[in-house]
Symmetry: C2
């Protein structure tokens, strides 16, 4: 058990589901004859980030988490007008980078103090940052992206969110 | 770092946010002169579980996880027509039970094989069950509950989802 085990592998799995969501969105758009890019501006409330930004945040989290746990400056998050094709490509590139990470890089990170950019003068213990902040935020935006699609008629199901499970025979 | 550390404390924090969501829902219902119980039947898609069931699943997860990690039969999930008052009370009772748990009870649970009720003959390694299934599902239903409220005009914000953070001075 390490901080790595409890964060990056599952973040990688979730990144791998992003194209699955877009596959279903594009199939539905094709069937209903609308431009699937319109979905990127959909939201569940007028003062909420739209789908594009939700997916951008999901993609940003793993490398942000890697950086702050290693005491590095996190990459500047992408907030531009990316297309579905752009988001697919960036999710794929990020996934490849996350796959190169391993538990040995994060040894000791659970006790490192992570400064909070949005709360000057304050920080969190590395493990607290992962469990109280990074993972809840990551899942929050992933589920919101999923919910925006679901609310717009796309036939995504919970298995498209969860992805494949590592099973054992009993 | 233990399987306990990466699951139950944050599940407890999230249970502690459930009354905060209902506080805001009831305040909004009062202001708009509607019965807040109506929100319990709201959903984001016609074939999705409504708010009541989403909250029931959130409340059920911590004790379900406790049971399966200890090799016990999980408690039968509550699926009846609970009111907001009922859900508040049950979230509170569950929170008290989760607070009595500790890491020592779950030693070795990461390697225990957890049978999957929905996939006869198959199981998952304890740690995989927590990271690939329990936590994504827990956050999925918590975020969906939040999103249903947000979509219905309730002024919940991300901090109501995340809750208080354990901070350190830098």
């Amino acid at each position: 058990m390490s901080l790595y085990d409890s964060s990056f592998p599952q973040m990688a799995r979730m990144l791998g589901q992003v194209p699955v969501w877009f596959d279903k969105a594009e199939a539905y758009a094709e069937q209903k004859k609308f431009n699937p890019e319109e979905l990127l501006t959909a939201r569940l409330a007028p003062d909420q980030w739209p789908l594009r930004r939700q997916v951008q945040v999901v993609i940003a989290w793993p490398l942000r988490l890697r950086a702050v746990l290693l005491g590095e400056e996190p990459p500047k998050p992408e907030t531009g007008d990316e297309t579905i094709k752009d988001l697919r490509a960036r999710a794929g590139r990020t996934l490849e980078q996350v796959k190169t990470l391993g538990p040995e890089q994060f040894q000791g990170a659970e006790d490192r103090t992570i400064p909070l950019a949005f709360m000057p003068g304050k920080g969190m213990r590395g493990a607290d940052f992962v469990f109280q902040f990074a993972l809840p935020n990551f899942y929050f935006h992933a589920t919101t992206a999923y919910s925006i699609l679901r609310h717009n008629g796309i036939d995504v199901g919970k298995l498209d969110f969860i992805g494949a499970l590592d099973l054992r025979d009993l």
